[in-house]
Amino acid sequence: MLSTKEIKQRIRSITSIKQITRAMEMVAASRLKKVESRVLASRAYTERMQQVLSHLASSMPSEKSHPLFTKKEGGIPVIKIVLITADKGLCGAYNNNIIQKTLKFIKENTGKPIRLIHIGKKGNLYFSKGGYTIEKYFPENVEKFGYNQVKTLVSQLIDGYEAGEFGQLYLFFTKFNTMMQYSPTSVRLLPMGKDTFKSKVIAKGEYIFEPSAEQIIEHLFPKYIETQIYQCILESLTSEYAARRVAMISATENAGEMIDELTRSYNKARQETITKELLEIVSGAEALTQG
């Protein structure tokens, strides 16, 4: 049995832990709110962009299919993966889930050279051990990863793809569904098969293109990939904050429970010492009267 002093000390330390987790929860909640409105706003843009691009792809003269849409002849086996994780832990299974999903994908593609591009410290940390090829790692915070950086990354990727450096590009991120639900997801960005677009074919060959379909694709396509990656970064960030918030809420709750329990045992221990002292006094007094 712990002494009252020791119990008191533990209560104190757990109280301060509780304060910290509570503060972290609040920070995550406020960040979540900010980023959530951004993610919802940019979803509209991404969806519309996808719609326009799918109309464009489906009404293109098929013999003039753009190289970005179809697999290259000869099949270059190199696969590039862009993985978005968090910079920090303490957010439940968030990092682990997306890393496991990536690992599974890598296992399914053994034999093919895989190059990883990391946005987020945790993914980089994990894959820097175990002989994986890390092509690039962006050391800045995920939160500060701006649209301009996405733009640079995408233009490098597209140049590399067109030069035949790699054959496929995948993006691994965590999709934000609701406060309590986020799913690790992967999408193939390159080549973009026509199957990528789910919307039905309308107005085939009836579009007027200005200046020309090729030129529009030339400009619209990189933009589409940019928005896609940017959107996925936002989705991941939102999921991260939501996950951290939930993790911190349960940590705070657990700390509270622990404090309750410790307080109970503290009271018990205190009562015991009082009883013991009383007994000593009583028996002492009795000894006196008898004597």
Binding site: S42, R48, Q51, H55, A203, E210, L220
Partner: protein, 134 residues
């Protein structure tokens, strides 16, 4: 009453406009053009410039657009652009400062990419100022 159609102006940050309108004029890469209800299906590139629309009550609204795209399909017009500022919401001070810095960047000898960037920034700032001064 004149025929109307649906117009959406969307940027990565927000849906700027979503309403029925009677007509739109915008600046495409091939020059400015107008859209009325019943326009043929079209996808076109837009350059930095001013978009003017007249809404269902024949009220005119103007927006400064960044480069982007417009899709017209079955009386639905979608404008996708990097940034869009409504008339009356232009930050003149900021636009003037941007114009000055872009002009400065243009004078410097630099890579072509830098020049292109500066040119685009200058055009953006000029469009904003034009919108502010009417």
């Amino acid at each position: 009453m004149a025929k109307t159609f649906k117009l959406e102006i969307i940027t990565p940050e927000k849906v700027v406009y979503d309403n029925t309108v009677q007509g739109v004029t915008a600046e495409g890469t091939e020059g400015s053009f107008g859209v009325l209800a019943g326009h043929a299906a079209m996808i076109t590139e837009l350059q930095t410039g001013i978009l003017t629309l007249s809404d269902a009550n024949n009220k005119t609204e103007r927006f400064a657009l960044d480069s982007g795209f417009m899709e017209i399909l079955a009386n639905n017009v979608i404008v996708l652009t990097d940034a869009c500022t409504k008339e009356g919401e232009v930050d003149v001070e900021k636009a003037t400062a941007e114009k000055a810095s872009a002009e400065k960047a243009l004078l410097k000898v630099g890579a072509d990419v830098e020049k292109e960037k500066a040119k685009a920034a200058l055009k953006r700032a000029n469009t904003l100022l034009k919108l502010a001064n009417k």
